[in-house]
Amino acid sequence: MSAFDLIAGVLLVASALAAVTLKNAVHAGLALVGNFLVLATVYFALEAQFLGWIQIIVYAGAVMVLFLFVIMLLFDAKADVGLDPLPWLRPVGAALAAGFFLVLAYAYSGLGPVHPLADIKLAGGLPAAIGERLYGPWLFVVLLIAVLLFAATLAAVVLVQPGVRGARKKPQVLERERELEEVGR
């Protein structure tokens, strides 16, 4: 385990913890961005260069930006405050997460040893190598992803249409509005 592994590990865990505990949503989002960037460096270290770049461009650069856009749009920066109706969920959740980690750790402990570096044929995870796999045995998956992205785009556009998909108001609300109209007239 090299120094890099250690530092990367610490940074990853720290930023993750920050992302799940910070009260200010923007701060949490930024912590998550940091997490993704460190993760990208880890990918580079693990001989997945193409993936690392994609991680930076797509995840940190597009997805998180999108998140921050929506946070700003909904004025949600200080949202995670106020009375918590389920206060028991924090400790219970922590316990469950810890339990989960332990189980997984136990599962992983039964795995065999790793190939020495000399036998690895990853070719550094460069686009050429990845491309050969993608447009080879994984072609069908690529096509499916294309369809998926298209569908997602459509869905996102449809979802945020104001007039076409207006919010249905509760009957009491409609009733009240009608009454107010009567009074106003």
Partner: protein, 608 residues
Amino acid sequence: MLLLLIVLLPLLGFVFLGLFGKRLREPAPGVLASVLVGLSFLLVVTSLLGGGASWEIADWLPGIPFSFVLDPLSGYMGLVVTGIGFLIHVYAIGYMHGDAGFSRFFAYLNFFIAMMMTLVLAGSYPVMFIGWEGVGLASFLLIGFWYTERKNADSARKAFITNRIGDLGFLLGMALLYSLFGTLSIGELREAIETSAVLPLALGTAGLLLFVGAVGKSAQVPLMVWLPDAMAGPTPVSALIHAATMVTAGVYLIARSSFLYANLQDVSYAIAVIGLVTAAYGALSALGQWDIKKIVAYSTISQLGYMFLAVGVGAYWIAMFHVMTHAFYKALLFMASGSVIHALGGEQDVRKMGGLKKHLPRTHLHGLLGALSLAGFPLLAGFWSKDAIITATLSYPFGGTGFYVAGLAVAFLTAVYAMRWYALVFLGEYKGDAHPHEAPPVMTLPNDVLAVGAVLAGFLALPEPLWNLIEPFLAPALAHVEVHHLALALEWGLIALSALVALAGLYLGYLAFTRGPLPAWYRAFQTWSSEAFYVDRVYNVLIVGPLKELALVLALFDGFLDTLFTAAAGSSAWLGERLVRLQSGYVRAYGALMVLGLVAVLVWGVLR
């Protein structure tokens, strides 16, 4: 087939009147019911003239056939039941006029006749038991006919429960007989017992148990307490069920089983003793009653005792003879009482009667004839049959003289209380405030017929050397018993003695109850007698009270069981309430539960 109709016609009447009676106007239900019973009577006559009949479903229960048999004994009894039943039905049309339950009454009466005929015609004991229970049920329904009064419902229940004690004896007796002989058909049992040389030891127990059943149904000591309370029912019910027919079912049972009792000396002795005790108890209690119907009720208990005395000493045909004469004059007495009650608008207390001879001439005649017949006035029906009984006791080998003297003494008392009844109701001055009016013809005509019977029925069986039609008629159906015939002179001498005793009793009664106040010792006795010597209170303390306490304790257990079950059911409700909280609606909670499940599955997967 005709035999079935005898039972089915009144049964159909019951069903029809029960379902549709409300839609018929008076007096249609009564007329219909009477006609059906009348038809049954004619069918019995026809079958008898045809020499008897039988009908059977073999192997109804394993080894036991469902059979009806019309032989001399059942035909004779059937004539009494349907004949007197018919007259009482007609009488009831008038008596129950205006009652809200008119059709229900006749439905129940028809049901009673159907069940009684089942009992009478039964060729095997289980069939008789069906009829036995059925008449018990009819009695319950009819005693408590005006059920809105608490007292009536209680009396009905008392009758039913007391009968039940007897029924247990009957059932056990049947079971014992079945285990001994493997059959409960009367014909087969008779053959088995009469032809076998050695009889099983348990036969005595069986006979005793069957007799217990008779004790319950026929109101013998100690189960006689229900009969006076049964007077809470309408008078036609008292006349039909508690005088003429149902209460004689016990006598009929013993007579039917005469082949059994003829071999059981000890049991027969016990029967005779109990009969005598009952006769004495009934007579003594009748002397102090103030209710017109209760006097007659205790008289019935007393006369039933005489019948059991007769079967106890082996004089089976004489008991049946007494059944018939008693049916005539007792029904007459009840119905005359009913006419009196009807005339006075419901008054039943004898102290508010008197002097009704002028107001109710026809009823007076009926009452007089009935009372005289009961008392044993010479040449009337009651005289011949009662005399036959006490004469028969003389030739009984085990203490016959004692039975004779006691029987004669009770006969004297009978005359006294009969005259008391007559004098308090019809003689002297009227002490009440109602306006007595004579009963309508529909009520007086049946009484006329009964009066004729009460006078003349005795002439069917006269002592030697005169004719006796009944003994030879019934002989084939009864057990053959060796009879000591007394010397002719002695016999007629004793008859004259009975006549004297009866006349003396009547005269004494006349003197005592039409003159001034009675002596103090008598009045003290009368208080005891009017409470029937406190037997009811003793039973309440000894038996009814403890049973009620037991019932309360058991009710506690029952409540405990209920609580247990409610708790068990409630626990699932409790569980549900707890589990419902999981459905909080909070997505995060659901998420937590999902993660919990995930971890659990992973643990299981990893550990495998």
